[in-house]
C-alpha cells in the first residue's frame, strides 16, 4: 500500500499544527463557532448530540494493521472503546472532546493518517473498489489513480469552498463495486481498443434529497489528462453551482439545470486551456505511485484444498460463511474474506477496540498486514491463502466477525442515525438491530438470497437508502413524530437505479413487518434464481404496495417502546449547541 514520503508527511504534520492552533483559538474564544465550524468540518469534526464526532479518512478504504491498531488506541484512549465504519470507507469516533482532537490528529499523523477534508464543502475522501488489485474482473487497478487523486485534491486551493460537498469514486473492475453512479464524479478506469488506459467519466450522480444517477460526460479521458479534466469539472461547478439553497447546491442540480451537453461544453472549454499543461500526469508519477500497489509475495498454490472441502461438508456454519463471506481471488489458492460487522444485535459498521486489534492481528497473520473497509461497512482481508480459511474463521469467530450474511438481508447498511447525529429524524441503528433480530434465521436469509437493505436517518442519505433494493429513511413530518419511508427497486453497480417509495410512511415498530410483507410478495412471485431486485423490476411496485397496505399492523407499541434506548450523554461539553 501507499507509504508517505517526506512531502506527504510534512503536509500532514503542517495540518496538525494548523489545526491545533485553530482549536486553541476556538477555546480561547478568538474564533466564533460560526467561523470555527467550516475549519473543523474540513477536518472531519462534527458537533453531534452527545459529543464531538471525528471522521478519519481511510483513503480508498485501505489501511495497514498498524493503522488499524491506532484506531483501537483512539477508541480506548479518547472514545468509549468503539468506532463506526462508514459507507464512504472511513471511520468515525462519536464520543470525543474538542480539546483532545489535536492530539488524536497527531497520533494519526504518526501512522500516516489524517482527517483532512472528510467533511465540509470540499473534495472528500476518494473511495474505490474494496476488491481492487485482487478481483477477477479487474481491468485496471484503480488504487494508484485513487492515491494520485487523493494528493491532487488534498488542500486544493481553488476548491476548498465549493457550493457543497464533492465526492469522487474510482472503480477498475468490469462490475462497479464503488457505486460510481451515485457520486458527484464517478470514474471507471479502463482500457480502450488500443489497450491504452483511460477513464470513463460520470458526473452529477448523488443521493441526498434529490437522488440522481450520474451521466456520462466523457467516454474516455486518457490517464494523462484525468487530473486536468477533473479540475475543469470542479472549476465550472465552483463558479456556477447554486449557493443560494443548500438543497440545490450539489453538482447534480447544475448538471440537470444546464443539461449534460451544455455542461460538457463548458467543461471542455475550460479544459482546452489546461489540457497538456503542467497539471498533466506523467508516466513517472504513475509508475512511482503504482510501485506501492504491486502484488504481495504470493505463493504458487492450487485452488483446490481437500481439507477445506471436508471441513465444509461437516460444518454448516463454516460452509455458510464460505458461501457468503469468501469471494474468489484472481490468484489460485487465495481468497478474499469479508469480515462481517453486521452481527445481529450489534450496530451496523461498529467495531470495538478489541475487534480492531483482532482484525489487525488476523491481517498480519493471514493477509500481508492489510485491511480494506467496504462501503457496505464491513472489513476485508484481501489476500488469504485458502488453506488458512479454517483457522481464520475459527479465530475471527471468537471476536464475532464471522456472521455469514454478506449480501444477505441482515448485511444492513446504516448511518448512525438520531442516536448520534443532529440531522437525523430516525433511529437507524436501533431499527437495524430490530430488523436483524426479526430475520436472524439464516435459512430464511439464504432462501431470500441476495438483497440489499439500506437505511438512512434522514434525506441526506448517508446510509445510501436510494440504492438499496429495500431502502428505509427517516422523514420529518409536521407532527415531529418519527416516521419511516420505505422504497424498493434501488440498486448499485452496473445496473444502478434509484428506489421508488411504496407509499405512506410507517412507525418505527411497523418497519420490520413491512419488510416481512415485501419479502412475502417476493417469495410468492419469484421465478427460480430470481433475486429480489429482479422480481421488483419484472413485476413492478404495485403487487408489493398492495400487499404491504392490505391489512393493519398489529404491533405492540408499548412493549417495543424503550427497548432500544441508547445511553444518554454522560458529560457536558463546551460550546455544545443542540441541533445547530
Amino acid at each position: 500500500m501507499y507509504r508517505y514520503d517526506e512531502y506527504d508527511q510534512q503536509i500532514v504534520n503542517d495540518r496538525v499544527k494548523q489545526y491545533r492552533d485553530q482549536v486553541r483559538r476556538r477555546l480561547s474564544g478568538e474564533l466564533a463557532e460560526e467561523e470555527f465550524r467550516p475549519l473543523r468540518l474540513q477536518n472531519g469534526l462534527y458537533m453531534q448530540i452527545h459529543a464531538y464526532m471525528l471522521r478519519i479518512a481511510v483513503p480508498y478504504g485501505l489501511i495497514s494493521s498498524k493503522q488499524m491498531r491506532m484506531f483501537a488506541h483512539i477508541a480506548r484512549k479518547y472514545d468509549r472503546g468503539y468506532g463506526h465504519f462508514t459507507t464512504r470507507q472511513n471511520i468515525q469516533f462519536n464520543w470525543l472532546k474538542l480539546e483532545d482532537t489535536p492530539d488524536i490528529l497527531a497520533d494519526l499523523a504518526s501512522v500516516e493518517m489524517h482527517a483532512i477534508q472528510t467533511s465540509g464543502n470540499c473534495v472528500r475522501n476518494i473511495t474505490s473498489d474494496e476488491y481492487a488489485g485482487v478481483a477477477r474482473d479487474e481491468v485496471v487497478d484503480p488504487r494508484p489513480y485513487a492515491e494520485i487523486l487523493r494528493q491532487w485534491s488534498t488542500f486544493h486551493p481553488e476548491f476548498a469552498y465549493l457550493p457543497r460537498k464533492f465526492k469522487i469514486a474510482v472503480s477498475g473492475g468490469k462490475e462497479d463495486r464503488a457505486a460510481i453512479y451515485a457520486h458527484d464524479i464517478g470514474l471507471s478506469v479502463t482500457k480502450n481498443a488500443q489497450g491504452e488506459v483511460g477513464f470513463r467519466v460520470l458526473v452529477g450522480g448523488g443521493l441526498g434529497r434529490t437522488p440522481i444517477i450520474g451521466c456520462e460526460i466523457c467516454e474516455f479521458v486518457p490517464w494523462q489528462h484525468i487530473l486536468t479534466y477533473v479540475e475543469s469539472i470542479l472549476r465550472v461547478y465552483n463558479q456556477y453551482g447554486r449557493r443560494d439553497n443548500i438543497y440545490k447546491a450539489r453538482i447534480k442540480i447544475l448538471v440537470k439545470a444546464l443539461g449534460i451537453d451544455e455542461f460538457r461544453q463548458q467543461v471542455e472549454a475550460d479544459w482546452a486551456d489546461i489540457k497538456n499543461g503542467p497539471g498533466t500526469l506523467t508516466a513517472e508519477e504513475v509508475t512511482r505511485v503504482a510501485s506501492f500497489f504491486t502484488d504481495p509475495a504470493y505463493e504458487t498454490l492450487d485452488d483446490h484444498d481437500s481439507k477445506l472441502n471436508e471441513f465444509k461438508a461437516d460444518n454448516r456454519p463454516f460452509s455458510n460463511w464460505m458461501l457468503r463471506n469468501v469471494k474468489p481471488h484472481r490468484v489460485p489458492g487465495y481468497a478474499i474474506v469479508v469480515l462481517s460487522l453486521k452481527k445481529p444485535g450489534s450496530a451496523p459498521g461498529d467495531a470495538t477496540a478489541e475487534q480492531m486489534d483482532a482484525v489487525a492481528d488476523l491481517a498480519e497473520r493471514y493477509s500481508f498486514g492489510e485491511v480494506r473497509i467496504t462501503h457496505q461497512q464491513n472489513l476485508v482481508l484481501a489476500d488469504v491463502r485458502q488453506k488458512d480459511l479454517i483457522r481464520l474463521w475459527q479465530e475471527a469467530s471468537a471476536y464475532g466477525l464471522t456472521a455469514p450474511n454478506i449480501g444477505l438481508l441482515t448485511d444492513i447498511i446504516s448511518c448512525p442515525g438520531a442516536d448520534f447525529c443532529t440531522l437525523a429524524n430516525a433511529r437507524s441503528i436501533p431499527l437495524a438491530k430490530l430488523i436483524a433480530e426479526r430475520f436472524e434465521d439464516l435459512d430464511f436469509q439464504h432462501d431470500i438470497g441476495e438483497i440489499t437493505l439500506n437505511m438512512s436517518g434522514c434525506v441526506n442519505a448517508c446510509g445510501q437508502h436510494h440504492i438499496g433494493n429495500i431502502g428505509v429513511t427517516g422523514v420529518e413530518k409536521k407532527d415531529h413524530g418519527e416516521w419511516y419511508q420505505v422504497s424498493i427497486g434501488g440498486a448499485e453497480g452496473n445496473d444502478s437505479s434509484i428506489g421508488k417509495i411504496i407509499g405512506p410512511s410507517f412507525t418505527f415498530n411497523q418497519v420490520p413487518e413491512v419488510i416481512d410483507r415485501l419479502l412475502q410478495v417476493y417469495l410468492r412471485e419469484r421465478t427460480e434464481a430470481e433475486r429480489f431486485i429482479d422480481t421488483v423490476r419484472r413485476i413492478g411496485h404495485a403487487p408489493f404496495k398492495e400487499h404491504v397496505y392490505a391489512s393493519d399492523f398489529a404491533v405492540a407499541e408499548e412493549e417495543a417502546a424503550g427497548k432500544h434506548e441508547v445511553a444518554p450523554a454522560q458529560y457536558a461539553l463546551p460550546y455544545y449547541s443542540p441541533r445547530f
Binding site: N121, E158, R288
Partner: protein, 175 residues
C-alpha cells in the same frame, strides 16, 4: 493597514461600495485612489481611465473576462468575498491570472480571514485586507500554514510530482 507581498503595509486605497439606492450610473466617485465596483467601471470607463490610478473590484458572481480588454488599465483589481464560505472568488482569481493575463496587484476584500489566506495566495492573490475586527499580525501567519503543496496553481506552476524527485516503493524496487 493591509497585507501585501507578505508584509503589513500602510494603504490608502478606498473601496467604493454602492448602497442599495445608488445605481452604477449615478454613483459619486471620490477623487484619489479608489477601487470601484465593476458595474461603475463599465458605466464610467471613459472618465475613469483618464485617471492616473484606478482600481476595480469584482463581486463573486461577476466574470473576470469582462475586464479582459481593459486589464492593463488598473493599478489594483480586488475580489470581494461576501462570506468566507463563498469560494467563487478563488476561481475568479485563477481566471484573472491564468486566462486574462493580469499581472498587477490582486487584492482579497470582504470577509477575509486568516485561515483562507494560504489558499488565496495560491490562486494568485498578493494583497489581503483581513476583516477589521481581527488582528492583522495574526492573519499574516496564515500565509505560512503549509510548507509544501501538491497541486499546480498560480504561485506554483508545477505540481509536486514535476518539481521534485519523489521516491517510489523502495521495498518493491529492492525485490
Amino acid at each position: 493597514m493591509i497585507i501585501k507581498n507578505n508584509a503589513i503595509v500602510a494603504d490608502d486605497w478606498a473601496v467604493l461600495r454602492l448602497n442599495e439606492q445608488d445605481s452604477a450610473e449615478s454613483a459619486m466617485i471620490p477623487e484619489g485612489r479608489v477601487i470601484v465596483p465593476l458595474q461603475v467601471w463599465l458605466k464610467h470607463r471613459d472618465v475613469l481611465q483618464k485617471r492616473a490610478e484606478i482600481g476595480v473590484w469584482l463581486a463573486s458572481d461577476e466574470r473576470p473576462e469582462t475586464l479582459k480588454e481593459d486589464i492593463g488599465k488598473f493599478s489594483v483589481i480586488a475580489i470581494d468575498f461576501p462570506k468566507f464560505s463563498d469560494g467563487r472568488g478563488y476561481s475568479i482569481a485563477y481566471n484573472l491570472r491564468a486566462r486574462c493575463g493580469y499581472a498587477g496587484e490582486l487584492r482579497a476584500i470582504g470577509d477575509v480571514l486568516r485561515d483562507q489566506l494560504f489558499y488565496m495566495q495560491r490562486v494568485g492573490f498578493d494583497a489581503f485586507v483581513p476583516r477589521p475586527d481581527r488582528s492583522i499580525e495574526d492573519a499574516l501567519k496564515g500565509l505560512t500554514d503549509f510548507s509544501e503543496v501538491y497541486q499546480t496553481s498560480i504561485n506554483s506552476k508545477l505540481p509536486l510530482f514535476r518539481r521534485v524527485q519523489r521516491k517510489g516503493n523502495t521495498a518493491a524496487n529492492a525485490a
